[in-house]
Subunit: 266 residues, 2 copies
């Protein structure tokens, strides 16, 4: 799995890159099923909306075999190591639900601001990855990105504790308006298995979801090992302290697990 | 302005019909400017979001010349009279803001349920019309319709007083899921000036708007004169009591006003 020079240039200019259907239907169907089991569990890593619907589940790669394989998958890890020219470790691993009917908004924000302020991450040399577990449509709350906004650096943000159940450092309307005037908004959509990667300073957000179509994504952060966090303040299931480089699994490891589980069920 | 037999058949089967760019850029630019003036005014007909941003302005056709002309425009009135085989009057006239950044959700609902319960409207022989004053995009909270759901009749609904600042009779998740499985969801988008018409029993809703792009639409209801409301309970700026058939203005009346205003400003 190697990015082309064109893809690398696109990423460096626009701050994001989308690889449709990078994972197969069999692989993502397994992950989607496992995600539902995780959401159903009553554990500290599963955060909920005001409605009680799941909002995000942290660190599933540490307690679920399918997500462990995904978190070490060469189709995901190798392009990021190629872009950074360095090995990476898992800084954060979430499964964001954006549940049918009740999935709530994520206001406009950058992620690196939080990693710097809360975790002591030195540089924005960490990559956001979104892997689609359901079909992402224009109508079920797709991630919206502001292309080129990574060039604006680390913007002033306010801690929003009111809008939703999840505290977030969010940007003001004037700043978002200015950046959108320059770069527009894109909202990549597509079948389960697509992988969206974007820069830690890229401005992004998402609307609520009132449709009957859930929009689960795995949303994780791969950090360059030299850029490990220095002064973490958040629980380690949110900001991980295992800074060892990820050892990738075989390219077919997830597929083999899916087939083994299906055989066991037959 | 006449609908083709194909358009009439489409409407009868799907419950909605979209006419892109029915009004010109000059006409809609005038209406968009006038809408901003109306929102800025402090009057009982202007309802606001919890944030204070405008949500909807009622009855502007009764106190604003541009909206008076729109409310009697032949390009809008004639297709509806053609579909009903009868003349129509204005039952309700709103300008819905769906403001940039703060525009809030409208949960899934049918309109005829409210007209029946609150206004005593005998039959669903009233047409919903949405005229785009801004560009409607997938990302700024377009109206979402469930095609063919008009065939489900008047569905059981609950009065939602909690979700937003606007009380609404909304449908439960099981019902919406079932109807979407049958008919899907469409979200017509396009430039200012487009006109969307849909059946009074068609299930619809819209997500919030966190983008810098406002999504103002004129949202009005034309009722067949024989179907006038019998037992109104809401203020007459919400459910009108003038049951006389609309006398249409000239096709170029709105355009002439736009040009006159522009000349006066030069």
């Amino acid at each position: 799995m190697k990015l082309s020079q064109q893809q690398i240039d696109d990423f460096n200019r626009e701050g994001w890159l989308f690889l449709p259907e990078l994972f197969t239907q069999e692989e993502t169907a397994l992950l989607a099923r496992e995600a539902e089991d995780i959401y159903a569990a009553n554990r500290a890593e599963v955060w909920r909306e005001k409605s009680g619907a799941p909002r995000t589940a942290f660190a599933a790669h540490l307690y679920n075999e399918a997500f462990r394989l995904l978190g070490a998958h060469p189709r995901m890890i190798e392009p990021i190591e190629q872009l950074f020219g360095e090995r990476v470790y898992m800084h954060q691993f979430k499964i964001n639900a954006k549940s049918a009917f009740t999935g709530d908004v994520w206001q406009w924000h950058q992620d690196y601001g939080t990693w710097k302020r809360d975790d002591g991450m030195p540089e924005p040399r960490a990559m956001n990855i979104a892997i689609f577990l359901d079909e992402v449509m224009p109508i079920n709350g797709p991630l919206m990105l502001v292309p080129q906004s990574q060039n604006a650096g680390d913007l002033k943000a306010s801690h929003d504790l009111a809008t939703t159940s999840y505290p977030l450092w969010t940007l003001d309307e004037e700043t978002v308006t200015r950046l959108v005037r320059q770069g527009g908004i894109v909202a990549p959509t597509g079948k389960p298995g697509g992988m969206l990667m974007f820069h830690g300073n890229l401005v992004h957000g998402s609307s609520g979801n009132i449709t009957p179509f859930p929009r689960k994504i795995v949303y994780l952060t791969l950090n360059a090992i030299s850029n490990y966090i220095r002064t973490p303040t958040r629980p380690d299931y949110i900001a991980h302290r295992d800074f060892r480089p990820i050892e990738t699994v075989d390219d077919d490891a997830l597929l083999r697990l899916a087939r083994a589980q299906r055989q066991a069920a037959e």
